[in-house]
Symmetry: C2
C-alpha cells in the first residue's frame, strides 16, 4: 500500500510546485522536497520530470470542470461565460502569481520535449473543439452572430484567455481577466 500512496503524494504536490515555478524553474529535488518524499523514490514512479509534468497537467485539467461546457441545461453563451468565469475565479484564488498552466508550459516547452508538446497540442485541440461546439449551438439559437467562423472564434478566444492569464503574472491585479471577460463576452460575442 505504501507505493501508491507515495506516488499520489508526489503527483498531487507536483501540480502546485510545477504551476508555481514552471517546467524549468524547479528540479526533481525541488518537487520531491515540496512533496515531502525521498528524492530517490521519484524514479520508482515517473520516468522523468516531463512525465510527471504531463500527469500534473491532467490533474490540473480535471479540476477545471470541463463538464460545465457540456451542461445543456444552461443556454450556450451563458454556459461558455460560466466556464471562463469558473477558470478565472480558480486562478485568482491562487493569487496573481500564476497564469494558466497550459500557457505557462507552452511558453516553456522546448524542441527536446516532443511528448509535452504533443500533450499540449492535443489538450488545446480538445478544448477548442468543445468551445467551438458551444459557439455553433449559440449561433443556432441566435445568441451569436452567424457570420463568425466558430472554429476560428473558439481558437482565438482560448488563445486570448491564455494571453490574459500570462499578463496577470505581470500586472498582479485582476484587470487582464476582467478585460478578457468584458471584451470576449460584450464586444466580441454579442
Amino acid at each position: 500500500m505504501a507505493r501508491p500512496s507515495l506516488r499520489e503524494k508526489l503527483a498531487s504536490s507536483a501540480v502546485d510546485t510545477l504551476h508555481s515555478f514552471g517546467l524549468k524553474g524547479c528540479s526533481i529535488q525541488d518537487i520531491t522536497e515540496a512533496a515531502g518524499v525521498p528524492k530517490g523514490s521519484f524514479f520508482n514512479h515517473f520516468e522523468n520530470k516531463e512525465d510527471l509534468a504531463i500527469d500534473a497537467l491532467r490533474r490540473y485539467l480535471e479540476a477545471a470542470r470541463p463538464d460545465m461546457l457540456f451542461d445543456e441545461s444552461v443556454p450556450p453563451l451563458e454556459r461558455l461565460k460560466n466556464h471562463f468565469s469558473y477558470l478565472s475565479e480558480r486562478l485568482l484564488s491562487l493569487g496573481y502569481g500564476r497564469g494558466c498552466m497550459l500557457g505557462l508550459f507552452a511558453a516553456e516547452v522546448g524542441e527536446n520535449q516532443p511528448k509535452m508538446r504533443e500533450e499540449l497540442r492535443s489538450i488545446f485541440d480538445t478544448w477548442c473543439g468543445a468551445v467551438e461546439s458551444v459557439l455553433r449551438e449559440a449561433q443556432t439559437k441566435g445568441e451569436v452572430d452567424p457570420r463568425h467562423d466558430p472554429g476560428q472564434m473558439a481558437r482565438f478566444i482560448v488563445n486570448a484567455w491564455e494571453g490574459a492569464t500570462i499578463r496577470l503574472k505581470i500586472e498582479r491585479d485582476r484587470r487582464p481577466i476582467d478585460d478578457f471577460m468584458n471584451t470576449a463576452f460584450k464586444a466580441l460575442l454579442k
Copy 2:
C-alpha cells in the same frame, strides 16, 4: 576598443539565445558559448542573467518597429493592422519555435525577479497605451465602434496577441496568427 565590441557581441547574440530557450532554459555559459565570448567576460558587462535579459528585451523591442504605430500618414485602423502584420511576419520568419519574447519572459518570470517583472509591466503599459491612442483616433474617424472602451480593447488585443504567439509554439503552423489577425480585425474591430 575591445570591451565595447565584446559587450556588443554578447548582448546581440543573447537576444537570439534567450528568445530560443527562455530565461530559465539557458545558463550564462550557454549564452557566452553561443556568443563565442569567454564565460569569464560576462560579469565585466552585466550584473547577472536578468540584467542581460532586460537588455535583450530592449533590443528585441527596438526591432519591432514601434514607430509604425505613430505614422499618421496611414489611417489608424490600417496602421494598427500593419503593426500586428509586421510583428507576425517577423515572428514567422524565425520558424514556429518562438512566441513573442514578452509573453515568454512573462510566463517564466518568478517572484525573485522584480526587476524583470517591472520592466515587462512598463513595456506592456507603453505598448497598450500606444494601441489605445490608435484606437481612439480610429473611433474619432468612424473606423471603430465608438461604444468600445479603447483602453480595455487595447489591453485585450495585446494580451490576445501574446496568447496567439505562445500557441504558435505548440501548433507549429501559422494558424494561431491567422486566427488572431482575422478575428481581431474582422470580427472585433469592424
